[in-house]
């Protein structure tokens, strides 16, 4: 048997997830006079998922471990630099949204994220700023004035 590989770890995580969700099915409210309880279907799904995860676990353990380079945090960060920037910036954008509103938070999100990915030369800074204002401002205007959708205004402006 091989050491735990990435697939095996995912399979174990899935099995843990199944356990947590199965345990939660015991807390689903019983509805009087219902012919099929609300917990039945999720249990059917969870049993199916458990069986598949066990098969996945055995399959991943029985297959030869692929030749991979040893894990290094710096290499990993380098590989996933752009997605990590996007995730973190989107997270920050969401935190800022109630305070700054969609327009300002959106412009800042687009400007900062583009600058972090594309670089901060003076020419690029101007280009990113222009794109952020025009793209976000334009879409914000379409939703606000043409489609009459009220986007978050932000506490700072009230």
């Amino acid at each position: 048997m091989n050491k735990l590989n990435r697939d095996a770890i995912i399979a174990i995580l899935l099995l843990m997830l199944c356990g947590i969700f199965f345990w939660q099915t015991f807390y689903i409210r019983e509805v009087p006079f219902s012919q099929v309880g609300s917990e039945i279907w999720p249990r059917v799904v969870l049993v199916l998922l458990t069986v598949l995860s066990v098969i996945y676990l055995f399959k991943s353990l029985s297959e030869p471990r692929p030749e991979t380079e040893p894990f290094s945090l710096s290499g990993w960060l380098k590989t996933y630099r752009n997605p990590i920037i996007c995730f973190v910036m989107f997270f920050v954008f969401l935190l800022a949204l109630p305070y700054l509103g969609m327009l300002l938070a959106g412009i800042l999100f687009v400007f900062i994220t583009q600058t972090l990915i594309g670089g901060a030369t003076p020419r690029r800074l101007v280009m990113h700023a222009l794109i952020a204002v025009l793209a976000v401002g334009g879409m914000w205007s379409i939703f606000t004035y043409a489609l009459r959708v009220i986007l978050p205004g932000g506490e700072l402006f009230y």
Binding site: V31, V36, N82, F90, F93, P98, G118
Partner: protein, 547 residues
């Protein structure tokens, strides 16, 4: 009846407002489809928030415009830069790019455009006549049969997950689990909320879909830091002009390839969850096999290009037939449309065409019209494509990430949906990086409520659980599900020359014939009998050959 409904639908679709929205949709689809990395599903998903304020026919017409435009737009990048704009135009690169490199980009683009148009047209005609028939068959389905149909859809989606069957199945079941979070649709009890109020209503379909398809796809595309900073193509193709007359002559010269590929596309579209990413390769392969000069394929031969483009556009008609007749999405795009209809409180089912005839036939007319609009707008879109591809990917990507956020917010006016978008964007990204396909998961989310509802109906109607396996239609779908589940094993067995692979097709014919034999009506019983007898004869013949 069909003619009356079609006339009424014509009135709705040809309203000026609707025509304008469709034209915008087609243009957006052409551009989005042509940008490598931006899938048609992503384009339709992004168009969805704009349709909330529209009437159902306007919203669906716009999305159909994006869909058909996207299918055709995929050929721009495939032909001009050799990178498929969408997975549905992978086979277009095989002959389109060599033709372009040999100095005939205008002819390649023209053939691609006209083949797409004719493929879509054939599919649209079949859609009008087949959808009501299929819906009539759908009325025979009981909850047991419907449940098994959903199971079949999930199995086929998983089996098409290029060598990752078990991961595809897991993704599909996780989708079912996600769909069960929130209020139970049968009894109204809250499930898996973990005392978090916002989860009481469950996850809205749109943020999940955009997160999984658009958000994760954008991040995957931007992963390569160097490529993300560069424009997709240089400016040397700026003067490309389509050769329409020569292209039409070429297509009529190879009409056999066109018809065959259109029907292959249509058939693949009819299969739940199988989309144009499969049909274009399948049609290309069949055209090559049928050709007298298979060695010319891959060097820039017109039949190869015709087969890919005709089949991917024809797939849309097949997928729409399934969505309208049975309420089962034929591919990821029709899954989005199903979601759009749900937002308008319309649930496609076998009664959809009779209960909502104007809307149903309006969809058919809009699909028909979208093909004509695509034809008319392609030359303009080609210029737009050449402009857009000079923008670095990271600039487009980041702006679209924000558009995703604005789009999902408009659904329920709540920031919880944007958090959902982020969570499913991360989940989708992690899944893709670990080889889990996203389509089965999305289908699980879409079909989960339908599966649960029919499961509950079946169980509360009868204590006899054997009905899930003995009713003819349920048995038919089990056979289809089992054979689609074992299809990847069969493919491996063929490659390694295993003996049992010789009998796979014969076994399928015999097994599929059995439920048909049990069905009502002389045609299906007769067909079932013929299939069983044929399978026995073929089995004996193969055994004799093997001995």
């Amino acid at each position: 009846m069909i003619i009356d409904n079609l006339f009424l639908a014509f009135g709705e679709v040809f309203a000026l407002n609707n025509l304008m929205l469709m034209a915008i949709g087609v243009l957006a689809g052409l551009i989005a489809g042509s940008i490598p990395g931006f899938t048609i599903t992503m384009a339709v998903v992004l168009a969805l928030p704009f349709t909330f304020g529209m009437s159902p026919i306007e919203g669906l017409s716009t999305m159909l415009g994006v869909y058909v435009g996207g299918l055709t737009g995929g050929m721009f990048a495939s032909i001009l830069i050799g990178v498929p704009g969408t997975p549905s135009s992978i086979a277009t690169t095989f002959d389109g790019f060599p033709m372009s490199r040999n100095g005939r980009p205008g002819l390649a683009l023209g053939i691609g455009l006209w083949a797409s148009f004719f493929g879509g047209l054939i599919s649209a005609v079949v859609l009008v006549f087949l959808a009501p028939t299929l819906a009539a068959i759908g009325l025979e389905f009981g909850p047991w049969d419907y449940f098994m149909l959903v199971l079949f859809a999930l199995t086929i989606a998983a089996s098409l997950s290029s060598g990752a069957m078990i991961k595809g199945l897991i993704a599909g079941v996780v989708g079912l689990l996600i769909a069960s979070i929130g209020e139970d649709r049968v009894n109204g009890a809250a499930r898996f909320t973990f005392d978090f109020d916002a989860l009481g209503a469950g996850f809205a379909f749109l943020p999940v879909l955009i997160g999984l398809f658009a958000f994760s796809q954008l991040l995957t595309d931007m992963s390569d830091s160097e490529a993300a900073k560069k424009p997709m193509i240089a400016g040397h193709q700026a003067a490309v002009r389509m050769q329409h007359r020569e292209s039409i002559i070429e297509i009529f010269k190879h009409w056999g390839a066109l018809i065959r590929s259109a029907f292959i596309g249509l058939f693949v579209g009819l299969l739940p969850a199988a989309g144009s990413s499969i049909s274009n390769i399948l049609a290309y392969d069949q055209t090559k096999k049928a050709s007298k000069t298979p060695e010319a394929f891959g060097t820039g031969t017109p039949p190869g290009l015709i087969s890919s483009e005709a089949s991917n556009n024809a797939t849309a008609g097949g997928a729409l037939i399934m969505m309208m007749a049975l309420g089962i999405p034929g591919d990821a795009v029709t899954a989005v449309m199903l979601g759009a209809l749900t937002i308008h409180n319309i649930a496609p089912s076998p009664t959809f065409i009779t209960s909502q005839p104007i809307l149903a036939y309006g969809i058919m007319v809009a699909y028909f019209l979208a093909n004509f609009m695509t034809l008319a707008l392609t030359s303009g879109a080609l210029r737009g494509f050449l402009l857009v591809t000079r923008i670095p990917l990271y600039i487009l990507g980041v702006v679209i990430l924000l558009y995703c956020a604005i789009g999902v917010f408009t659904l329920n006016n709540t920031t919880f949906d944007i958090w959902t978008l982020l969570a499913f964007g991360i989940l989708g990204f992690v899944m893709v990086k670990n080889g889990f396909p996203l389509t089965p998961m999305v289908l699980g989310v879409v079909l989960g409520p339908l599966a649960e509802l029919n499961f509950a109906r079946a169980v509360s109607t009868s204590d006899d659980y054997s009905l899930f396996f003995t009713r003819p239609w349920a048995l038919f779908f089990i056979v289809m599900a089992l054979f689609s589940a074992f299809f990847p094993l069969y493919q491996n067995a063929v490659k390694s020359g295993k003996n049992w692979a010789r009998y796979y097709g014969v076994a399928f014919m015999g097994c599929a014939g059995l439920p048909l034999l049990l069905m009502e009506g002389w045609f299906r019983t007769g067909l079932g009998s013929v299939m069983i007898v044929l399978s026995v004869l073929l089995f004996l013949k193969k055994r004799r050959e093997a001995a």
